[in-house]
Amino acid sequence: MIAWTIYVSFLGSALLMLWPSSSPRPARLIALLTGLAGLALALAGAVEFEHASATGKLWEIADISWIPQLGIHYHLAADGISVTLVLLTGLAAVCGILFSWNIENRTKEFFALYLGLIGAIYGVFLSFDLFLLFVFYELAIIPKYFLIARWGSTRREYGAMKLVLYSFIGSAMVLIGLIAAYVVAGGQTFDLPTLAQFPFPAAFQKWAFLLVFVGFAVLAGLWPFHTWAPTGHVAAPTAASMLLAGVVMKLGAYGALRVGMTLFPIGLQTWRKEIALLAVIGIVYGASVALVQRDFKFVIGYSSVSHMGFVLLGLMTLTQVGLSGAILQMFSHGIIAGLLFAVVGRMVYDRAHSRDLTELQGLNLNRTLPFAAATFAIAGAASMGLPGFSGFIAEMQVLVGAWQAFPLLTIFAGIGILIGVAYTWRALLKAFYRDDATTAPLPAPHLAPITFAERTGACVLLGTSLLIGLYPKLLLDLITPALNSPLMQPLWKGVTT
């Protein structure tokens, strides 16, 4: 049933493309219904999954021979990690639609591309044939370009092209690695569980791992390949930045884990420390740069780089707690970053038409847009990693795992969290709560009130973050068995901590 998340999204996208009228209202409704259907299917799938596969075995969905000449199968399956990320995609998709309710310009095309992107993302999370996974992965690139180049804001064409070329170069690296792995393993199959059993020669693994891991990690914002992320996020329309930061960056981390780490455990051992170092640099660097940005959206953009650093660090710890923290962080960051982008892009920028923090300072937004201010305050707290929110559990787990593996680096990661508090606090004060009380407040301009759709979206995202923060077992019950599954066994072999 969970496979229908893919089909429903693509069907919705096709329906929108063929829809005769160009008025925005039906397009929005179709998009919202499709998004909701996807979310419902994802939830139903998660429930079904819990019943079907308590043992951590792979949950088979479909396995049909697709291109027999090359041994390519249409192989869909899921484990707890996939299900977690499918849930995240469903949530982010629905909220993204709610926050794009105000798009009037070629609404139909916007949502058609948006749903196409969502469908491809669902596809990546559910594919267990490497060819199929790669097809979905590349399929997700093109809609991003048009979403940004057509509906974006600041330097949109530059941002879109940069993002697409980075993604494409990353996926080119992955492609080379996959072809090489296929050939070395005998040229019979692209099936992930089968290939994971194949003992690739150590010398081969060393470079193949680097190629595939880094190729995927480009999309996860691995420093120094992260520069597409801030510019892309800033240029993108709100819904697209929500998806980019919320889900697309997770595609990269997921691919790095699912393909790079699972196929090449020896390569992973070889490069573990170096990549962990890059991840920590990303954490500290992203946070420091976020601290000095004038553009509100850049603050969030760089914070994404910093938070994704925790995901990569968690993956490199190769401890149960670190890995489950990394996956939890993917989910948690997906929700919180989405919300932050929604506040900045939709609630503030679409109304005040400025994202410059010094300009916003004069607008008294906490009075004119109290809901936005409150949302940002709470979401910011969640982003800082305040206990009670999902981010706390996730980053704490990552740090605990990292402490076992790389004590020194962990200290720097901790410093990154502290800088995170600082930049969030700074942005919050500057944008919403004037810290300078001596001058008289400017007369507040009239801004359109926050709509019902925005309130709903914000509440859903905040509620989810709180729910996972207070009761992480919901997701951990999915993640932990998956980490102990046979597919992941090669990872734990020979780990020296």
Partner: protein, 491 residues
């Protein structure tokens, strides 16, 4: 001694095409006084198309025959069907500006060129191959020059002719050396002789000379200088024909010469283990083509010119398949056939646009999505397929090709070529996106009204786009045809 008339039944499809050329000429002559240019164009175009269909039907009646001057294997029959289909589509191109009054000659030359293509791929005899190549080339030179009102067309034809004549001389020289070395002009016999005797240095001269001539036909760099001018200057249907039909046939015949004739003399292009032979030569051609084509395409402002440079790059990718030896044949054929479909579609879109804009610069594509949504979507499909984005056929073509090449030499020896090719195709996405950006993200100029392409043009372009999608999602359809034909033909 009874005369042997088997050759007549073997040649029937070619005869049909050649005779139709004269029928078309006569028809146009009859219509000349009484009918308008458009009517004459329509009837001759239709006749040409019918001739292609008739030739396809007669192909089924040809008995299999696989020796000597002329062979008719299931594989060559399959390729001929495809070539005829491509030629038929070129004949039906939507051309509003009738660039010539010599309509009968135009279509007759097109048919004769098609006959040349068909002969080219059905022989294993070097002389026959050369004769067919000349038939094809002479027709194409004249066709490229037919737009007499346009200076660019004349310049293109002249360049094409000069470069073509030069490379034909090289080929002939190479063939004569081969004949001197082996005393044979049949590819199979040459191969046998080469295997039994040691290799003399002059063999490599012959090899290089022969390949230079064909590299010209493939538009592989550094023998590509004619391509941008011809693509831009020649009448659009002719450019499309050169880019599609002529390309497929040229790749087929190069594969045949190399694999059948020089099979044992490949040497090796594996990294760190270079051995002299045709493999390092082809690898060099491939690398230079991919780099030069893609880099030059980045700077183009005219879409036809851009397509020309992209064609050079694509020739580079396709050459990699040959390095995989006979195993590379299915990927090569899949690649060039789907490429031909894609590029034909792109040129058709360009032709439609030219009907209203007279040019096809990047900026003329601005806002096309609002002026002609269906056409724009088809162009999106074609461009993304050329860039190699799944699930389009261009992606699978490249993937299949790279997989075959990577597995060809032991120890991933050819992976360096794959790495280069993948990197080059990452670069190529940039310029394909430039076109798509104009179509989808830019606004149309205020003076531009809605584009109203004819129903038949839209249908044909949509069909091509549909094929590109279907062959991408289900490549097994074409692959099983190809492998079936390959298994039942001695290649």
């Amino acid at each position: 001694m009874t005369p042997d008339f088997q050759w007549a039944s073997l040649l029937l499809p070619e005869v049909v095409v050649a005779v139709s050329a004269f029928v078309v000429l006569a028809t146009d002559f009859a219509l000349k006084r009484s009918h308008t240019l458009t009517d004459r164009w329509m009837s001759c175009g239709l006749l040409t198309c019918l001739a292609c269909v008739a030739a396809m039907l007669t192909l089924t009646a040809v008995p299999a025959h696989d020796a000597g001057l002329f062979s008719a294997s299931p594989l060559s029959q399959l390729i001929k069907v495809i070539l005829l289909a491509l030629a038929g589509v070129c004949a039906m191109f939507p051309v509003a500006r009738k660039f010539t009054v010599h309509i009968g000659e135009y279509f007759a030359l097109l048919l004769l060129a098609t006959a040349g293509l068909m002969l080219l791929i059905s022989s294993e005899n070097l002389l026959m191959i050369f004769a067919a190549l000349e038939l094809l080339s002479v027709c194409l030179y004249s066709l490229a020059a037919l737009d007499k009102a346009s200076l660019a067309s004349s310049e293109a034809a002249l360049k094409y002719f000069l470069f073509g004549g030069m490379s034909a001389a090289f080929t002939l020289f190479g063939i004569s050396l081969l004949y001197g070395l082996t005393g044979e002009i049949d590819l199979g016999a040459i191969s046998a002789k080469l295997k039994s005797t040691g290799v003399e240095p002059v063999f490599y001269v012959a090899l290089v000379m022969t390949l230079v001539g064909f590299a010209f036909k493939l538009a592989a760099a550094p023998f590509h200088f004619w391509a941008p001018d011809v693509y831009q200057g020649a009448p659009t249907p002719i450019a499309a024909f050169i880019a599609s039909g002529s390309k497929v046939a040229a790749f087929f015949v190069v594969a045949r010469i190399i694999l059948t004739g020089f099979g044992g003399k490949g040497g090796s292009a594996a990294l760190g283990a270079f051995l002299p032979g045709w493999m390092p030569l082809l690898a060099t051609l491939a690398v230079v083509s991919m780099v030069a084509g893609n880099l030059a395409a980045l700077a183009q402002r005219n879409v036809k010119r851009l397509l020309a440079y992209s064609a050079i790059a694509h020739a580079g990718y396709a050459l990699i398949a040959l390095l995989a030896g006979p195993r590379g044949l299915p990927p090569l054929l899949f690649y060039v056939i789907t490429y031909a479909l894609t590029v034909l579609g792109s040129f058709a879109v360009v032709a439609v646009l030219e009907n209203s804009e007279a040019r096809a610069d990047l900026t003329d594509f601005a806002g096309l999505s609002q002026r002609a949504p269906l056409l724009s979507f088809c162009m999106l499909v074609f461009m993304l397929s050329l860039a190699g984005i799944p699930p389009l056929s261009g992606f699978f073509g490249k993937f299949y090709l790279f997989t075959a090449a990577a597995g060809a030499a032991s120890g991933l020896g050819l992976l360096w070529l794959v790495v280069l090719a993948v990197a080059a195709s990452a670069v190529s996405l940039y310029y394909y996106l430039q076109i798509l950006k104009q179509i989808y993200a830019a606004d149309p100029s205020p003076s531009a009204g809605a584009l109203r392409p004819s129903f038949s043009a839209q249908l044909a372009i949509a069909l091509l786009a549909g094929l590109v999608i279907v062959l991408g999602c289900a490549p097994g359809l074409l692959l099983s045809l190809l492998s079936h034909a390959l298994n039942s033909s001695a290649f």
